[in-house]
Each structure stands twice: as C-alpha cells, then as structure tokens.
Symmetry: C2
Subunit: 194 residues, 2 copies
C-alpha cells in the first residue's frame, strides 16, 4: 500500500468533493469490475457523510453498483488526465477489456472488495442507500461514505494542499468533450475582510 495514503475523518470527507472535481466511480460484483469517469458527483450530507452521483442507465458501472450495493468515488489528478478521459468515453459494454485497454492500475483497500484506482488524490468508499425512485427517475445514486482516504502529498490535516503540491496533483474539472480545467489558486475570503 502507498505509504502516503492516510485515512480521512468521515466528518471531513465532504471536503474531498467540495471543490467540485470530476471523479472516477468504481464498482465490483462477483468477478466483474469497472471504473468510469463522472462529472456529476456532489457531497450530500456532513454527518453521516453522504454523497450523490449521477450514473446513466447506459453504464456498466451502474449495473455493478445496483447488484453489489457498494462503490468508490475517487478524485483523480492532472497526471491521470489520459486515463480519466478514456475511462469516461469507453464503455465496458462495448469493450469488455476496457480496464486493461485503459491501463487502469487497481488495488484494494483492506476490508473492501472493490477496485480502487491507484495514484488518485482521494477515495471515498460508499455503501449505496437504495432509492429506487431517484435511481430510475433521475439516475441519481446516493451513497453513505463508510471510509475515506487521501494521499498526504495533496490532502493533509483535513485540507487540500494543491498550492503546495506538484501541479500533477491538481484536480480535473471537466467542461465538455475532453476539455477540462485544473483547480487553480487558493483564495481566502478572510484575508479581505477579517
């Protein structure tokens, strides 16, 4: 296991998503695994930590989550741009070998039989809160965060440190068609009006 990987207090897990990054969603059911990119993920509750993610009916990952009831939301980095784009455009329904074709490096957190993507900045392991109406009507899936981890080179003491880390650690914010912005510079509202 990556020595920089640290647990994040569940009460601070929302901070991993608060800045609105594009995420990777991974899931497993029996021997099937998949990972997809998603821009529509959002914190939903502080305590107990919950999040929402929109998963189209055309995605294999959604099917795995519906069967297993678990998934991981992870925050990828600029260094992973190519991987994120591929995972977001290739469907496992069309290419059963999607994960090896995308050269997706996977590992598992102890206690969770779920495919985590290596080299991300943060991981939120979620238990699906089944809500048939939201899932069918809105493609909206709600997860209770049961464990959270981050790489201490970019998230420490409950805070993102993008401004102190190498640029390759920056989060990605998809706009459309493979065009992204990275996260930028820190600004503090308290500096202006203490």
């Amino acid at each position: 296991m990556n020595q920089h990987l640290q647990t994040v207090e569940l009460s601070k897990a929302y901070r991993l998503l608060n800045h609105g990054p594009t995420v990777l969603v991974s899931a497993q059911y029996e021997n099937e695994q998949n990972v997809m990119a998603a821009a529509w993920a959002c914190a939903l509750e502080l305590v107990p930590a919950k999040l929402s993610v929109v998963l189209d009916k055309s995605t294999k990952t959604r099917l795995l989550i519906e069967k297993s009831g678990y998934f991981i939301i992870q925050v990828p980095t600029l260094k992973q741009l190519k991987l994120v784009q591929k995972l977001g455009t290739i469907s496992q329904f069309n290419d059963p070998e999607k994960l090896p074709h995308c050269e997706t490096p996977l590992f598992k957190f102890e206690g969770f039989d779920l495919p985590a993507v290596e080299d991300c900045a943060a991981w939120l392991i979620c238990e699906l809160i089944p809500e048939p109406h939201n899932q069918q009507e809105h493609d909206l899936f709600i997860g209770k965060v049961v464990a959270a981890y981050a790489d201490d080179r970019v998230f420490r003491n409950g805070h993102w440190c993008y401004h102190e880390a190498d640029a390759e650690w920056k989060s990605l914010h998809h706009v459309a068609g493979g065009h992204y912005y990275t996260i930028g510079d820190p600004v503090d509202a308290n500096w202006i009006d203490p």
Copy 2:
C-alpha cells in the same frame, strides 16, 4: 440590462455547472427575497436540463423556494469573493437586512420575478420539481432549468473561456471555512492522445 448577458441553449446549460463551482442560490416569495451561497449544486440531466442543490433546513432561501417553486442558481466570480462569503455565512433569519448589509446588487430577468445577482458569470433559472422525500430526507432540491444566461466575457458559444478572461472572472470552489480555490488552467485530453 448588462449588454454582455447572453442566453445559453438549455441543452448546454449543464456546462455552466459541470466544473463544480460554488454557486449563489436566490429566491423570492411575495415581497421576501434572499440569496445564499452553496457548494453542493450539481447538474442532474442534460435534456430537459435539470440540476440538484442541497439546501439546509436552517436556510431562509429554502423556505422561499418551497413557497414559490422557483429559484436561480448563479455562478459567482473571484471579484465577488467577499460577497459570496458573506451570503454564505449570514442567515436572513438572524439578520433580516442581510441583502443590503451584504451590499447585494440585484436585478431581474424579464419574465421572472426572481432576484438575480449582478456581475455573476452565469445564471440558471429553475422551476422546482417538488420531491417531498428528497427535500425532507436529504435536503435535496431538484430544479428544471427553464432559462439560462451567461456573461459573454467568460462564457461564449457554449464554452467557458476562463483562460481568455481577466482573472477576476474565475469561478470559486469552496473547500472549507472561507477557503476557496479558483478554477485554474485549461487542459485538453485530446492533445495527449489524438
């Protein structure tokens, strides 16, 4: 009306939120108006354009939306940092004069009796899709976007142009306690692997 204000096709309205900015939520019921900041807003559907936003039960804006069935989600800019922070920390329940105390510049779009905040980068006018379970259980409000507008100095032809605009136009991404990151630099996954 600001001459730079342009309509945005509803099929592209999701792009206004896709990069995960912190937003301002405004609403009106009869003679009562309010505006609050929110980090947990997210696109939900492409066509018809829908979005979700989490509104705590302690907020006055939520109450106005429940009564009126309409709200505006707007994307503020770095220039508005102080305003965003104030609107996100002061409650109108505690300070009935919140809007003037925050020096909140408001205007109205023709046809919508809703308080829009001047100088934002984009505005999504929403009709509440009432979902009592989501609203009560998750504080989650779903809106159908009925009109969208953007300032053409930073969003043109269906695309954000943060990299071509002055830095003061950058979106804000709240992390915690008045600490934000701005949106950063553009990166294109297609440049790497055409």
